[in-house]
């Protein structure tokens, strides 16, 4: 029993040790000076002495921050983290109320458009920091849509020659209102003291009308428009449209544009289905799902197979996407909020223009920058968000660094996962590191019990199925088929209770000692089966223990201390069960 307690203690310590660095670091600001707030009840002579002492010891001069700081005795001096720590440890700490970093705040580029404050979506994608670097100068974005009309808030936006494929004429003005709205999100005239702002407002718009007044159009026209864009100097194409089936004509047009360095962005579709619609589904097109104002997937948005990234599309309840467009009835300019993946796509197209303006021209690299810089959603089992949520600032920064690094192998697999157009691989479905920790901890636990264990396939299989499962299968999709069978096959046994619905909350019946106990009871008499049962118990102990520390989310018990305690206790019980079962076996043998 003593040995068992020792094992248990080592187990807990081991898990905490393994994961102590895993919880992420708190965000830290930048500073190059330090604030000293001297107490107000000490005489000024003492303050002077302390300041002289600092000058002597550290060769730095502390000055009053401003003439308004006299009353509060607030001084600042140049210094870094080392000096900050040294000062905090010195006698100075007795004379001061606090010594803290003087964090640097930067004034951000903003917009003076009066209704800019209603554009929650632009705040969401972190646009102001991106504008500090570029506004899309020199880049042309083709808007393949219902046409674009020069409403007042597009007057200062640059346009290049487009075409109306519906009526076969050069003037591609809008008679529906959708295309003008989409063009507004990309490059609405900004800082013009009127209306609203656009993402890449110095970029040029190429209006291509392929959709009629009622909002529909043929694959043949759309394919022609894609070729027109590629031949006439477009750098980015936005297609806020979808539907229909696979078309060779369209695929060839897309491949042609891609080969001419055009980045092609399209809406994932609005039927709340688990595949992107065409044309977003084509391999060389970046498919965009929609977020609502709280940052969750919008209820209508498609998700799952093919979705590469997510961006604001709004919804009726939270907030819509506001731009200036035309009224379809009167043709007059009107500010209107619309929702849909149609609205999400031009956010990404705008940021793609910013990325291109920062010097990345190859569309494959543009896609990589957009995806890698996106705000990653840790738990995304159904691939609502693709690589993550669009972040304009991070994208521009990464583009300017010109450095492409793959976040991990599975992400890379997904980015290049179009081995066959019929299936698709989502590398972001599983948080990889916790899974690896689960396997490693599982084997560490088995190592503790090594005197009792034969290293058979059954034991190994049990450890794997109990801890991580064949988790890579969770990211596998076949277009238009349900994905849950792959989630089930890719789940560890404790996760089975939440695999079908794709929840990230563990089911307390499956994620407990119950199943290992049942397996041990059933299989103890079977010479192979018992080792599988014991391995499974060890795997469970690891999976539940790691979950308790990394992501304690349990159905009915929340994510707090109750869930953590439940998981930790069950982890201990599983380990105890494995110990007793294997020990019993040894004595019998």
């Amino acid at each position: 029993m003593k040995k068992f307690l020792l094992f248990s203690l080592l187990f807990v310590v081991g898990i905490w040790f393994a994961l102590s660095n895993f919880k992420g670091l708190a965000a830290q600001g930048e500073f190059d000076s330090i604030i000293l707030d001297f107490r107000e009840d000490i005489p000024t002579t003492e303050i002077s002495q302390q300041i002289e002492a600092i000058a002597r010891e550290y060769d730095r001069t502390a000055n009053l921050n401003s003439i308004f700081s006299v009353g509060d005795n607030i001084y600042t001096l140049k210094g870094d983290k080392d000096l900050l720590n040294a000062l905090r440890k010195s006698s100075l700490s007795q004379d001061t109320e606090y010594i803290e970093p003087n964090y640097i705040y930067e004034a951000l580029e903003t917009a003076n458009d009066p209704r800019y404050n209603e554009q929650w979506n632009l705040q969401k994608i972190n646009i102001e920091k991106a504008w500090d670097e570029t506004k899309g100068d020199g880049i042309t974005v083709a808007v393949i849509d219902t046409g674009v009309s020069r409403v007042p808030d597009l007057k200062q936006t640059n346009f290049v020659k487009g075409y109306d494929f519906v009526n076969n004429k050069e003037n591609a003005s809008d008679d529906n209102g959708h295309g003008t709205h989409v063009a507004g999100t990309i490059a609405q005239s900004t800082n013009n003291g009127y209306g609203v702002a656009g993402v890449a407002y110095k970029a040029k718009i190429m209006p291509l009308k392929v959709l009629s007044r009622s909002g529909g159009g043929t694959v043949a026209d759309i394919a022609e428009a894609i070729r027109f864009a590629a031949d006439n100097g477009a750098d980015v194409i936005n297609m806020s449209l979808g539907g229909g089936g696979e078309s060779k004509l369209m695929k060839e047009a897309i491949d042609y544009a891609f080969s001419k360095n055009v980045a092609i962005i399209a809406a994932a579709g609005n039927s709340n289905a688990n595949s992107s619609s065409y044309p977003a589904r084509y391999p060389k097109v970046l498919s965009v799902s929609a977020l609502n104002s709280t940052g969750s997937k919008a209820s209508y948005s498609n998700y799952g197979a093919g979705v590469d990234i997510s961006a604001p599309g709004g919804d009726r309840e939270g907030g819509k996407i506001l731009q200036e467009t035309i009224s379809p009835r009167t043709g007059e300019p009107i500010f209107v909020g619309l929702v849909g993946t149609s609205m999400a796509s031009p956010h990404v197209a705008g940021v793609a223009a910013l990325v291109k303006a920062s010097g990345v021209s190859n569309p494959e690299q543009v896609y990589s920058v957009l995806k890698q810089s996106s705000l990653k959603v840790e738990k995304d089992p159904l691939n609502y968000y693709g690589a993550g949520q669009l972040d304009a600032s991070a994208a521009v920064q990464q583009a300017e660094k010109g450095k492409i690094t793959f976040r991990d192998f599975f992400r890379w697999l997904r980015d290049n996962g179009y081995l066959n157009p019929g299936f698709w691989f989502d590398g972001g479905a599983v948080a990889l590191i916790p899974k690896i920790i689960m396997v490693v901890v599982g084997y560490l636990l088995a190592w503790f019990l090594r005197n009792y264990l034969p290293w058979t396939w059954a034991l190994n299989g049990g450890i794997i199925m109990g801890s991580s499962g064949l988790f890579f299968l969770q990211g596998f999709y076949i277009f238009d088929l349900p994905q849950w069978p792959f989630r089930v096959m890719g789940s560890s046994i404790p996760e089975l209770g939440n695999a079908i619905q794709g929840s990230i909350q563990l089911n307390p019946i499956f994620a407990s000692v119950l199943i290992p106990f049942g397996l041990v009871a059933l299989l103890l008499a079977n010479p192979q089966g018992k080792w599988f049962a014991i391995g499974t118990s060890i795997g469970f102990a690891s999976c539940l223990g790691v979950s308790a520390v990394v992501s304690p989310a349990l159905w009915g018990l929340g994510t707090g201390i109750a869930a953590q305690s439940f998981l930790a206790i069950n982890a201990l019980l599983c380990f105890g069960l494995a110990y007793l079962a294997s020990k019993g076996e040894k004595q019998l043998a």
């Binding site: 849509d145 219902t146 529906n176 209102g177 959708h178 959709l211 009622s214 909002g215 529909g216 159009g217 043929t218 694959v219 043949a220 759309i222 806020s240 449209l241 979808g242 539907g243 229909g244 089936g245 078309s247 809406a267 579709g269 609005n270 039927s271 619609s277 065409y278 044309p279 209508y300 919804d315 009726r316 379809p328 619309l338 929702v339 849909g340 993946t341 149609s342």
Partner: protein
């Protein structure tokens, strides 16, 4: 190939003036160029038409149904 779909007609929150036919099973069709009489919320309508695989739309809410004829079963 012609199909007959029965369901309710409703305006979609997506797109501009988009009208949808939603079947009892929950499948959504986008009505292509619906006539004026069909552009209002109705509980049960039978539409005979074709699914246009070669058409893409701004709404992308489901298969695009080109209407040959329709019959209002319940208002």
């Amino acid at each position: 190939m012609s199909i007959t779909v029965t369901g309710k007609v409703e305006q979609s929150e997506i797109g501009i003036d988009t009208w949808a036919l939603v079947t009892e099973e929950g499948e959504t069709y986008e009505l292509m160029d619906p006539p004026e009489q069909l552009c209002q919320s109705r509980t049960k309508v039978k539409v005979e038409g074709q699914v246009r695989d070669d058409v893409m739309t701004i709404a992308a809410i489901g298969p695009v149904l080109q209407i040959n004829s329709f019959e209002v079963l319940e208002n």
